[in-house]
């Protein structure tokens, strides 16, 4: 089971969910380039200008660890990254769990994504405002601690802190992406987890994703917001358990 975090955070956001599956699955956690403890030297502005670059990274992990029958759990933008990876190498993936997916964040000729380009510019300004002074002050501290996760207390301040430049590029790659056409090519069974009152991925978007993917199940969560993996891990895990049991009865019991 491969967990992929979304824009704005790092693999820490799986800390309430991943342990619930670690007894039955080989679980794989990672940080996207630019986030958490990732190696910034490996970041390639051209390759990572679109989500395809991030999907290649996922495939590189899957190949390096020689994983098969992957259950890919992707939050937010990583839901679409998982879709791209699963479409590119369908033999590796047995199921997708998409938490708060959105294939197109911008409103577009009748399609409701929820945002305008002006909103995304606003986000970039917001990122700028909240990284002022951080780049110089915090980056060395995080770099220094990246290989020493045991420094829990000190590191807690750096949860979800990411390289500001990469973060802005990732924001563009994320919010200007359009992967609506890729959904129909997904071959594996897919669970779409839709939160209530999610302003990043509204209900109508979750329904669209579930309608477009041939073998998709849509589950509406009571959890509000965009991060049920953090705010409602019980409910999220329960929905995943049900999906996985129906998918392959042996998984839940072995």
């Amino acid at each position: 089971m491969v967990f992929a975090h979304g824009f704005g955070c790092d693999q820490n956001m799986w800390r309430h969910l991943e342990p619930r599956f670690a007894d039955r699955f080989q679980t794989v956690l990672f940080d996207h380039l630019g986030a958490g403890g990732s190696d910034l030297d490996a970041y390639d502005p051209a390759r990572h200008a679109s989500l395809d670059g991030y999907a290649e990274d996922v495939l590189a992990i899957v190949r390096e660890l020689d994983l098969h029958d992957v259950v890919f759990v992707g939050h937010s933008v990583s839901a679409m990254i998982g879709v791209l990876a699963a479409v590119a190498e369908p033999d590796r993936f047995s199921a997708l769990v998409l938490i708060g997916p959105s294939p197109r964040y911008l409103d577009d000729d009748g399609y409701i994504g929820g945002f305008t380009e002006g909103d995304i510019e606003g986000l970039l300004e917001s990122l700028d405002s909240n990284y002022l002074g951080w780049a110089q002050a915090m980056a060395p501290a995080i770099m220094a601690n990246a290989d020493r996760p045991q420094l829990g207390a000190e590191l807690s301040e750096s949860f979800c802190r990411t390289d500001p430049d990469v973060q802005k590029r990732f924001a563009r790659a994320t919010f200007l992406s359009d992967n609506r056409a890729d959904l129909a090519s997904v071959r594996c069974p897919t669970l779409v987890l839709q939160c209530s009152d999610d302003i990043i991925a509204p209900d109508v978007v979750g329904r669209f994703v579930a309608d477009q993917i041939p073998d998709a199940t849509l589950v509406q969560l009571r959890a509000t917001g965009h991060c049920p993996n953090l705010s409602a891990p019980e409910e999220t895990a329960a929905a995943m358990e049900t999906f996985l049991r129906e998918l392959q009865p042996s998984i839940g019991t072995s």
Partner: protein, 396 residues
């Protein structure tokens, strides 16, 4: 040091004021806004300070979520950064957002937040402290604009330096019968300044070629002016005299005449294809002597050192003749190579000799790149001085 007398009367009235501080009044009229939210972001309660800043009534706020108070960009930031951080670490500090006030005005604020858990450890409420940050945000925006401007200016300087540098180096050494010539140049630091190192390769009518490598004292625009003067003076004087020492002496004269304060070191030579290799006539002015690398890996300096150019008084310079046999290579560098430093240790002549000895016989352009790259690697990729290398190989 002066002891401040304790005013007992003032102390008593201060204590009285604290005792009379009503907790409700402390909350309602605190010098910051307080807002309490459900974990979903639904507004439950706000103090009067917050209501007076934003113009909402308690009732109108009760129908809203925190998201409704934020501009769309900040709303995304809230969901992708603020809420996850709050869930993971229980608090968030100094987040800059703009609140949408009741009349549509935007109020720049800083938010501190804590997550309050119930008896079971489940999130029960979010408490926000809201600080009016209009002036601080205006100042930060100016800083941000200034930083962007500085980055753009640095980028322009780099582009200008790179363009100017290009005009001071030959695009690529020409192909010359009987010999192969290589050149390499690496700027110091991040390349935002024009360096003082240069080289040139040009044809002298009468079946000879002129090659120069030099190092102008200093960097930037003033060094670029001297470099340009050196290049065109050498090209012009090379036609008038077959003696490299005489040509360098004319360059000295031109420098003293036109640029009293600049000086430079250089090796200038003429190269003529002969029956058994390349005939070299050279003169070194205060510069490292060229190294002749033979086919067996032997490395030895050739020629005699003369005075550098541009100082007062006519320089003493010599002409020396050298023959480069087929397969042998003449290597000329600027001091950016052997004076490259790492932790106080110099790259040094011995290291250069060993590198050349181990790579005797490889092509002239490859050798020039190899030497430049080795000196840069030695400095862990960040050269303190610019580096120029010119190689000349006799081709049999």
């Amino acid at each position: 040091m002066i002891d401040e007398p304790i005013d007992l009367g003032a102390l008593a009235s201060f204590r009285e004021a604290l005792i009379e501080d009503d907790p409700a009044d402390l909350y309602e009229h605190a010098p910051c806004g307080y807002v309490s939210l459900r974990p979903s972001g639904r507004v439950v309660k706000a103090n009067r300070t917050f209501l007076s800043w934003t113009g909402y009534t308690a009732t109108s706020l009760g129908a809203l979520r925190i998201h409704d108070l934020l501009a769309p960009g900040d709303r995304i930031f809230y969901e992708t950064h603020f809420a996850p951080s709050l869930a993971l670490q229980g608090h968030v500090r100094e987040v800059a957002v703009e609140l949408r006030c009741a009349d549509g005005r935007r109020l720049p604020v800083l938010l501190n937040a804590i997550l309050v858990a119930d008896d079971l450890g489940e999130p029960a409420a979010i408490r926000l402290a809201v600080f009016d940050a209009r002036e601080r945000r205006a100042y930060e925006l100016e800083l941000l604009a200034a930083r962007r401007e500085a980055e753009a200016a640095a980028e322009r300087a780099r582009a200008l330096a790179a363009t100017l540098q290009k005009t001071l180096l030959p695009p690529s050494p020409p192909s010359i019968p009987g010999m192969a010539v290589g050149g390499a140049y690496r700027p110091a630091g991040d390349g935002s300044e024009v360096g003082g190192d240069f080289y040139d390769v040009f044809e002298i009518p009468g079946a000879a070629w002129g090659i120069v490598i030099g190092d102008v004292c200093g960097k930037g625009a003033s060094a670029a002016v001297v470099t340009a003067l050196a290049r065109y003076t050498l090209r012009a004087e090379a036609v008038r005299s077959p003696s490299p020492a005489a040509v360098l002496a004319r360059l000295h004269d031109a420098m003293v005449r036109d640029h009293g304060d600049g000086f430079l070191t250089a090796v200038y030579l003429t190269a003529t294809p002969i029956d058994d290799g390349v005939g070299i006539r050279m003169s070194a002015a205060g510069h490292h002597l060229p190294l002749l690398v033979d086919l067996d890996g032997g490395v030895r300096p050739v020629g005699r050192t003369g005075h550098l150019l541009g100082m007062l008084g006519p320089p003493r310079l010599h002409d020396d003749d050298v023959v480069v046999r087929p397969g042998e290579t003449l290597v000329m560098t600027t001091d950016g190579v052997i004076e490259a430093r790492r932790d106080g240790e110099f790259y040094g002549e011995a290291r250069l000799h060993a590198l050349l000895s181990a790579n005797a016989g490889i092509g002239a352009p490859e050798l020039a790149d190899l030497v430049a790259n080795d000196a840069i690697d030695f400095q862990r990729g960040a050269p303190r001085d610019d580096i120029a290398v010119v190689t000349l190989q006799a081709v049999g």
